[in-house]
Amino acid sequence: MSILTTAPLKVWPAAADSITVASGAGAGVLGAWVEIIPAGSILVPISIAGVCAELFVSALTNGQTTEIQFGLGTAGTEVSISDPLIVVASAGNLIQEIQMFLVPIGGIPAGARLAMRSRTLSGNIPSKFALMYYESLDEDPTMLAHTTYAPYSNGSNINGASVTPSGTAWANSSWVEFIDLGASSALLGVGLSYASGAYDGIEYEVDLGAGDAGSEVVLTTLRGTFSNIGVQGYMDLWLPTVFPISDDTRIAFRLRKAGTSTTATTAHLLYVYAIPSEDIVIDGLSMLCDVGQLTINGSGFTDTMTIAVQGPSGVLAYSVISIAPTQIVLGIDNLVTGVYCVDLSA
């Protein structure tokens, strides 16, 4: 596929104030889902190209990141489509207010209700967000429909994995483990927080590596700069394009920079992973298992049908994302490998 597109870039909400999405009440706690796009508002599939964030900075510690998550479904039954979260910005002097994702987040069907929730290290932060999106983007059907962003979060520390720089200019830090990535994953980049003024006006490089502890091999190197005095915040360094990982691979990173400060900072890994899907056709019906979604294609569907879903662990709760005469899309949390059965009755 080509990355070139003739699909127009659009904004939601259009010509209106951004939408407030408060983080949860505690450190790293997700807030309530907030409706961003009401059901039935967009009549074609969309892909989220980026966000514009207006952070409630007075309540955030400098360098503290804000993470968001998108979900589909009716109010109270939202199912995440970007699991776990996307780091969008931080408080401080360095706010990445416009965040254009390296890979647009697709798989949002026509008519779907889109919701968002957020978390921060401080609780109850009412920041505001607007989206930029494409309609009917010519997406890669095997990747984008089954892909989620998953920035690494270091346990309860949502500010990421901590790294202590070398005290020698441009000498490598020790390797710090991010995560073991599974097959069919792809690196997108790395995000670095600067919670202190210790890195004022310096440049840096981050190596992403693979391999067992002590045997890491550099996969790629990203360069950035803290361009001014007092700079504190967070910055995503995106790769030019995705870097596929085919095997189970331990991913680690190391930092080197100008200057001699050994003040620790934190980093997030940005990556996507594909979830295998099977499209099985039985008696004219096909069922497609996606990230948080089960799609049934067929004919004669109505919104008055009774639906029951049976999964590997028994009867499953679901939300109805959309019902059209030829397609039903259900949202189901925590889909796992196994056999699913959907009963449809008029």
Partner: protein, 482 residues
Amino acid sequence: MAVALSTTNEFLLRDGSYLDTTAAFTITGWANQGATTPTGFRTYYNYGDGAGSDAYLYLGSDTNANNLRLAYWDGVDYVQTATAFSPVVGTYFYWAMRYDGASAFDFIINGLVLETLTVDLSAITFPTTDDSVGGSWVDFSFALIGVFQSHLTLTQITAQSQSQIPLSTALAFTPLAFAADLDDVTANGEDWGLSGTLTAATGPSLAAIGDYPYTTNPLFSAPPAASGVTVTPNAGSWANSAWVTLVATTDAAWILTGLVVRPDNTNANEQFEIDVGVGAAASEVVVTTFRGTFLTTTTASPGILPAPIPLDNIGVGVRVAVRMRKQNASTNTWTVGAQYYKKPLVGNLLTSAKPQKSYPSSATDVLLTAGATAWASSTYTELVESTATAIVLVGMVIDILSLNSGWEVDLAIGTAGNEVVIQTVRAYHTGIQATDGPNFVPFRRPCDSIPAASRIAARTRSQIAIGTRQMYVALVYLEKPL
């Protein structure tokens, strides 16, 4: 999923008589070189007599060297490629030995023919017909070795590199995925025999994520492990600085993916352009241009200036330099670094030899009018009267002066009064703080909706309708055809 031999003189061996060397064939595989310089030869693949007495075809290193060549020995003459590939330690490469059945024996790395040896293999007798991997030096890992009795195209070879099964009819295909995995997955049973111990190794990264653009090449930084090169701006508005050497000589052809810029940290409203050029001092030729704006001095942005369509127009062995020009008269120094891939590129990343250009060029961003009321659209301001060619829009520089407020900017094409919106970008101005990068918003999916002779205009909307409200914009684009 790959394997490696454990100690010196271990090897894989099988009877290779299944291969007809008088007809077209292609042999392919992945390999990843170890760090230690061989004592002897690092043999990635050998057909014929592995002992070297009788004729053989060889893909491996020179004696006591870390390079890689294609060669043959016909019993009288030893002929090798003049070109030696230099594997990067720890980075997988995909090799291929390809013969057209007549006279062309190709040395192929990562989908590119590095050199062709002219030889009629039907004139060579191979008394021994063994296939082998390893031998005198073994510190490399390898996987997915395929033997095809056909002349695969480069497209087929690239596609094969991403598959764990043969995509064309194969005589033999051995995944070599784990320590005990010596089996040929075709029905021909051309399994490997093992002399020594085979261990599991980290394998190559395959594109298991569909056909989304990707690469497994490592990204490099220039200057590496050092601050950017220092550029002293010209005091004249939009006058060029002197060229500053970024790299004296490239050690490979580059795919330039972006710049990392640190401003002078002294002056506000720094609208700027940076040219990247190649050539000797005083003979530089501009190959691309980046544009951005640093809005404030008390806070600043990280200086990331990506090229959404990376530049493929910097060769090997050339000097790369940068120069800048900007709006105001400050001559405080800036620093500039770069990010790039080394060719050949594994993957399907869209690149272009065309330079990035900007509207306006070497001039101040265009001031747009503001709407009369909150979220009311302004009138359109013409940015481009008529594009010289069809263009691909790769990003936009947005510079907002206002109180804290949300903004939208529509880009449209069409005659005055008939504009059609093709892109809308949302931004927010905090009044005190900077935005993403040097106020450059990259279009990760570049806009391919602007034909030749298009008039481009823009209009704004904002959350507030009080005070001084100004948005300045510039466009960054490539001319088609890419």
